[in-house]
């Protein structure tokens, strides 16, 4: 019965909506789908979205792991406060995030950094909203990591870098990869935090989600669904890559 419940729940919440989108995307046949996703503006928006998301997950994989490391292994005054700040990008309504980013990185920037309405702004906004993923996926692994392994390696003469590379990193890898996959999926579909700060100029700063918004406003649901399907496919492809790498990693470990 549990299986039935899970199946029902997943169907209602995930599978049915996704199936409906896929059906809509191919309503005008494969050629209709292709026309929708191959228009120059759609291609430009998809390209920007995918490249920006890739940049973002690479940065967040490194910085997120570092942040998790400092949160678990280091001690400094106010650490618990900082630790609770990490989740705020999740809690903040994304349009507020966009407004805040515009204030800090716009024309009247108190930091003197004006990148509003550029592709850099897209990356910064995505960095902001996807920050917690890697941190929160890596933290529990670090906490449960057996420190005796490190001591043993050290007593056998391994340097700090070698310990990190050969002992710590392999143990954290599943968390890092999970974080990357989640952050990437989120970045691909992100809308709210970008609408104000990105500029939405077609071919320059228009991301896929805003392009989709335009398709909906033009009553072109087929086009909107088609581009969404591409985003889903890209997301799925990265997920598959991550799974593959992890499996390969496990085999090497053995």
């Amino acid at each position: 019965m549990n299986k039935g419940l899970v199946l029902t729940y997943l169907s209602l919440i995930v599978l049915l909506p996704l199936a409906a989108i896929a059906t809509k995307a191919f309503e005008n046949g494969p050629s209709g789908f292709w026309t929708a996703v191959s228009s120059p503006q759609a291609v430009a928006a998809l390209k920007l979205t995918v490249i920006a998301s890739l940049i973002v997950v690479v940065i967040n994989a490194v910085m997120g792991t570092l942040i998790a490391w400092v949160m678990v292994r280091d001690d400094f005054p106010g650490k618990s406060v900082v630790n609770s700040f990490i989740d705020l990008p999740f809690a903040l309504p994304t349009i507020v995030a966009s407004l805040t980013l515009l204030t800090i990185y716009g024309k009247d920037s108190p930091l003197g950094i004006n990148v509003a309405f550029t592709q850099t702004a897209v990356v910064i906004a995505l960095l902001f909203v996807t920050l917690p993923f890697v941190v929160r996926a890596v933290q529990p692994l670090l906490l449960s990591l057996d420190r005796d392994m490190e001591s043993a390696a050290e007593s056998l003469g391994a340097g700090r870098w070698r310990i990190f590379r050969q002992i710590i990193l392999p143990n954290l890898a599943p968390g890092i990869f999970t974080g990357i996959a989640l952050a990437f999926a989120r970045a691909l579909g992100e809308f709210g935090s970008l609408v104000l700060v990105s500029g939405n100029v077609p071919f320059k700063t228009e991301v896929a989600s805003v392009f989709i918004r335009g398709q909906i406003e033009s009553d072109n649901l087929v086009g909107a669904s088609a581009v969404s399907v591409v985003l889903l496919a890209v997301s799925l492809a990265l997920l598959a890559c991550v799974t593959l790498i992890q499996r390969k990693g496990l085999r090497h470990g053995n």
Binding site: L12, S39, G199, F203, Q215
Partner: protein, 340 residues
């Protein structure tokens, strides 16, 4: 053979499917319940976002104080015009609708939710007017007074993306029409639109977001409805606006839905009454009743044109804003190629 197991699996599969079907059925019933008609003394208002203040703070209280409106209650829903229209089409309960664009009413006429003859009244279904204006920084430091200035002078222009914001299409048609009024050919007029779109650092998703971006420091000029500019001033934003001597008359339609209670019809009549029109005027909208137009507050441009001059919204939507073959889509594409 593992027949027993596989048959039990099949049974579970069927069980799961039945449960699923049952749940889906339940959801459908709940969904239908939502779209049933409300009480006769209740107005279910669905409108675009800008007039929220005007409705909630001024128009609805005044209507409730009138004879026709005593005992009437309201449920309000505000949002982007196109979204609101699509929501009603999809079943959101509504007895009175007010949108930024006529095409959003047309959608409901096509779905059979608004009567075909909704324009058969004194003001042709339009409840408020406005004009496309130029919102500028205090003191108008760049000295812009018309659309030609936007092309000639060194300014950055913010206008919402006409593909994500239906309302932003008025802005584009204002630029285009002003050029035509000044004797330019359709081709030259489109070149003007292109020249201005080329100067946009941002094309925010909606009019509201555009105003936020402008107030946040983006651009020198914001293309916006006069009523948006006045609303921003009423909200305490430090902006000024200029009404160009040649611009487009914005017409914001309202209608009651099929089978709407008397309260909704009464409310629409109230909005067209002298009292209702005066409240609109106080809130930054030009009254459709020309006798009540305060020309001190609402200067009448020398050349004021309407969307009808270009064949109406249906034609304009196809000619200009079709995302494949519309002239604006093509301009975007050209600008995209040039920037690469």
């Amino acid at each position: 053979m593992s027949l027993p197991i596989s048959s039990s699996r099949t049974r579970r599969g069927i069980q799961g499917f039945l449960l699923l079907a049952l749940l889906a059925f339940g959801v459908a019933i709940v969904g239908c319940g939502g779209s049933s008609e409300g009480a006769s003394d209740k107005v279910q208002l669905v409108a675009y976002s800008t007039p929220q203040q005007a409705y909630e703070q001024h128009l609805e209280p005044a209507f409730k104080d009138s004879d026709a409106g005593s005992g009437v209650s309201f449920s309000n829903s505000f949002g982007a015009s196109g979204d609101q229209s699509r929501a009603v089409e999809a079943g959101q309960a509504a007895s009175y609708v007010n949108f930024a664009l006529e095409t959003d009413v047309t959608r409901l006429v096509e779905s059979g939710q608004v009567a075909k003859n909704w324009r058969d009244n004194e003001y042709k279904g339009i409840v408020t007017n406005s004009v496309v204006s130029l919102v500028v920084r205090p003191g108008n430091p760049k000295g812009v007074h018309n659309f030609q200035d936007l092309i000639d002078k060194d300014v950055e222009v913010v206008t919402p993306n006409p593909f994500t914001s239906g309302g932003a299409r008025w802005n584009i048609m204002a630029i285009y029409g002003a050029a035509i009024e000044n004797g330019k050919s359709p081709k030259q007029a489109l070149a003007d639109v292109k020249a201005i779109l080329k100067k946009t650092p941002a094309q925010p998703e909606s009019a509201r977001v555009a105003l936020q971006a402008f107030v946040g420091g983006a651009g020198d000029v914001l293309l916006s409805y006069e009523n948006e500019a006045i609303a921003a001033q009423l909200a305490g934003e430090d902006v000024e606006y200029v009404v160009p001597d040649s611009t487009i008359l914005i017409e914001q339609p309202a209608a009651v839905t099929e089978g709407a209670p008397k309260a909704a019809t009464d409310f629409l009549d109230f909005l067209w009454s002298d009292e209702g029109q005066k409240i609109w005027s106080d809130q930054g909208y030009r009254p459709v009743n020309q006798d009540l137009l305060d020309t001190e507050k609402y200067p009448v441009p020398d050349k004021l044109f309407t969307i009808e001059d270009f064949g109406g919204w249906d034609k304009v939507a196809t000619d200009f804003f079709d995302e494949e073959n519309g002239s604006i889509a093509k301009i975007n594409e050209e600008l995209g190629v040039e920037s690469e």
